[in-house]
């Protein structure tokens, strides 16, 4: 097995490094990262490209983002029992073109800002009545926030 330093080119103190987890690189070789004094050092471990399977591609956005998307720049948050993550988010309200029998509300947090959560989009199905209930609540609280902000300013 060969070991080659990937970056940066000149490590200053290798003796105090602690290795992070091994990871497979896109060409099938294996690499690991070590941290020392805030500096990341990357090593390639195995140059045998024939053994490892292909890497999965980096995840693209799941939701299309065009001028028809409802909101393309929101502050989002995902809460789990073990962690909370914040990221920019896209929200889209629409109805399916095929049999538009429900309202579709979609949310996606930017995957590159997520450490814990697997990249994904959430989708909620609403009946027209539920969509109107949601819209009414959004209106109600929008007015409340408007009033508060007017008082503040």
């Amino acid at each position: 097995m060969s070991l080659s330093l990937l970056s940066p080119p000149s490590p200053s103190s290798l003796q105090s490094l602690s290795p992070s987890s091994l990871c497979r690189r896109r060409d099938g070789t294996t690499a690991f990262t070590m941290l020392s004094r805030g500096q990341r050092y990357r090593f390639a471990v195995d140059k045998d490209k024939t053994q490892a399977p292909d890497m999965l591609p980096m995840p693209d956005r799941l939701l299309s983002v065009t001028a028809y998307t409802t909101l393309d720049l929101l502050d989002g948050e995902a809460e789990a029992h073990e962690f909370t993550e914040s990221a920019y988010a896209v929200v889209n309200a629409t109805a399916p073109r095929k049999q538009p029998d429900h309202v579709k509300l979609e949310v996606e947090l930017d995957s590159t800002q997520l450490e814990q959560l697997t990249p994904h989009a959430d989708r909620i199905r609403l009946t027209p009545e539920e969509a109107r209930t949601l819209a009414a609540d959004l209106e109600k609280y929008a007015e409340k926030v408007d009033a508060y902000l007017a008082d503040e300013s």
Binding site: S7, R24, R25, A31, R61, L62, L63, A67, L73, K98
Partner: protein, 590 residues
């Protein structure tokens, strides 16, 4: 329940749209009933017309389909004349002036600011000169693409006769005029992969096969490629070989299969790539054989994919820029048109230069460039001395020749950021401020305004796609950044590694990316190879946005303007809708 679009199409579609288009042109834009306008604007696409975006609603973009990008002698001048006479709007573009021609990634032509009232005259001028906007958009056979020098540069098999046959057979053909979705076809005879077949719905790629003891040259057939909707696909081989003379019959079978089996209930699922996902190539071939052709399909021949060098990550440009020899000892000269946009006067000059030194023919490439053909050797020096070539270089800087951009918020309803002018600014800044690593002469940066992917960002070294972010408390235009895409024997779509980089920090990010590449490069590895050996964390670390001397005057939300470059750009200041003379039909703000 069928979609609205399918319902409109079932009522009136195809050739018959034309008489209605003429009727509305006669009675004026305002005569289109409000409750029918969505249906008519959808139908007009079939005749090459797209309504421009909000704030420009009485103006149209026209796409003119030129099969394989070939403009016959005299046609370039016609395009320039039409642009000058009809394609100027109420505001100027600061970079390109008030009238210009766009050469597109599908070897077509786009003109903007056209008024509905002028369409019949424009059609008559086009058609009397052998040009047409028929089926340039809409749910049917689009402009057929390939290597733009088909018939003149070296080829393994002649593609141009096949392209002409397909165009003649399927343009205006009632059996194929109403398909479930757009139908993009590539036919390539050159052995270098330059027809970009992999990203088309239907691709004919050069191959050979021994049949009855004789080696026959023809095409292997692949189906289901495409880049749109965050769902890029490489076309899949369906184990079919065809002789050139049978290609149209095979294409008719596949087009009919799509017509019958494509999803008409969900336009998001309608492209044939999704049917291919569902069926796989074996079932696709079986259904094609059993139900849609009345002859025995040949199994696939030997392809030439190992020889593919076009956009394959190596240092061979393949973009046909520069001076190259034709088969007949004459030469062709490929000129770089930055982001594919050329002023109308320059287009007229291009026509003159092509006529003076060549045969008058001009060809359009899939990298938004133009090629002057049929130049005798003795004319080359004089051609290369022409002032036109100072702006449209046959030997451009890599950042210039590598730039591709879609239409963007200037005109397009889908885009969320400014694109063409921005990519011009990016390319100029990069040329001034960034050194490419040794030996890197081919570096593609494609900018698309949204996920529709009209600039084909997924097959570039650096892929830029419109987004929004917040900077200093303000919402600003931003770009997602992808890396390492390209075609070749083993095509690979870009990895999307950076999200929402503010547009003014993108040139700095590219500068840093190239510095890291130079620093960490192993031997003479290509950028694509460098990207391919990175893990996910490493890839993300390659994106280091940075403010630099680059300044972006269009940071604000350009899609909310009526026209980004207008002196007063607010939506309320829009003159549209306007009448046939360009006068506002209603007060700008009431």
């Amino acid at each position: 329940m069928p979609t609205d679009v399918e319902r409109w199409k079932s009522e009136i579609y195809g050739n018959e749209i034309r008489e209605h288009l003429y009727r509305f042109a006669e009675s004026g834009w305002e005569s289109i009933p409000d409750d029918e306008s969505d249906a008519w604007f959808e139908r007009f696409k079939w005749w090459g017309l797209y309504q421009q975006r909000n704030g420009q609603e009485s103006y149209f973009m026209m796409r003119i389909g030129t099969p394989n990008g070939v403009l016959e002698p005299g046609q370039t001048e016609v395009v320039a004349d039409i642009a000058k006479e009809y394609a100027s709007g109420p505001a100027e573009n600061p970079e390109f002036g008030d009238t210009y021609v766009d050469w597109t990634t599908r070897q077509s032509i786009q003109l903007h600011w056209l008024k509905l009232e002028d369409i019949p005259e424009i059609f008559e001028k086009l058609e009397s000169n052998g040009l047409s906007a028929q089926q340039a958009c809409g749910d049917s056979w689009r402009n057929i693409v390939g290597n733009p020098m088909a018939g003149k540069a070296p080829e393994f098999v002649d593609a141009l006769p096949v392209i002409h046959e397909l165009n003649d057979r399927f343009k205006g053909n009632e059996d194929h005029s109403n398909l479930p979705r757009k139908w993009k076809v590539s036919v390539t005879g050159a052995p270098d992969g330059s027809g970009q077949g992999d990203i088309n719905d239907l691709a004919f790629e050069p191959a050979f096969k021994e049949i009855d003891g004789e080696e026959v040259r023809g095409f292997n057939v692949a189906v289901g490629g495409g880049l749109s909707r965050n769902e890029p696909r490489i076309a899949r081989q369906i184990d079919v070989f065809t002789r050139p003379e049978n290609a149209a019959d095979v294409a008719a079978g596949i087009s009919a299969l799509f017509r019958e089996h494509g999803d008409r209930e969900n336009r998001y699922n309608a492209r044939i790539k999704f049917l291919m996902d569902e069926w796989g190539p074996e079932k696709f071939r079986r259904v094609l054989q059993e139900d849609f052709v009345d002859f025995e399909l040949e199994t696939a021949g030997e392809d030439l994919r190992e020889q593919y060098t076009y956009n394959a990550g190596g240092e061979e440009h393949g973009d046909l820029i520069g001076v190259h020899e034709q088969r007949d000892d004459k030469y062709y000269v490929g000129l770089n048109v930055l982001v594919g946009r050329m002023g109308a006067d320059d287009t007229a000059e291009l026509a003159r230069v092509a006529d003076t030194y060549g045969s008058g023919e001009v060809r359009i490439s899939q990298r938004q460039n133009v090629i002057i053909t049929d130049v005798p050797e003795e004319n080359l020096d004089a051609l290369l001395d022409e002032p036109l070539l100072e702006n449209y270089s046959p030997d451009p800087h890599p950042f210039m020749r590598g730039s591709v951009a879609c239409t963007g918020t200037e005109f397009c309803s889908l885009s969320i950021v400014e694109t063409k002018n921005r990519q011009v600014r990016f390319a100029r800044w990069l040329k001034q401020n960034v050194e490419l690593p040794d030996g890197v002469e081919d570096f593609h940066i494609h900018l698309s305004g949204c996920t529709a992917s009209c600039a084909q960002p997924q097959i570039a070294d650096v892929s830029l796609r419109g987004m929004k972010t917040r900077k200093n408390g303000e919402a600003v235009e931003a770009l997602d950044i992808g890396l390492g895409g390209g075609l070749g024997e083993n095509p690979h779509f870009a990895e999307w590694v950076g999200q929402r980089v503010p547009v003014d920090e993108v040139p700095g990010a590219i500068k840093n990316l190239l510095a890291t590449f130079e620093d960490q490069r192993e031997g003479s590895e290509t950028f694509r190879e460098f990207i391919a050996r990175q893990d996910e964390d490493e890839l993300e670390n390659l994106i280091e946005p940075e403010e630099t001397s680059y300044e972006d005057p269009m940071m604000h939300n350009t899609k909310l303007t009526w026209y980004p470059y207008a002196e007063n750009d607010s939506m309320d200041a829009s003159p549209a809708p306007t009448d046939g003379d360009g006068n506002p039909l209603a007060p700008a703000d009431d």
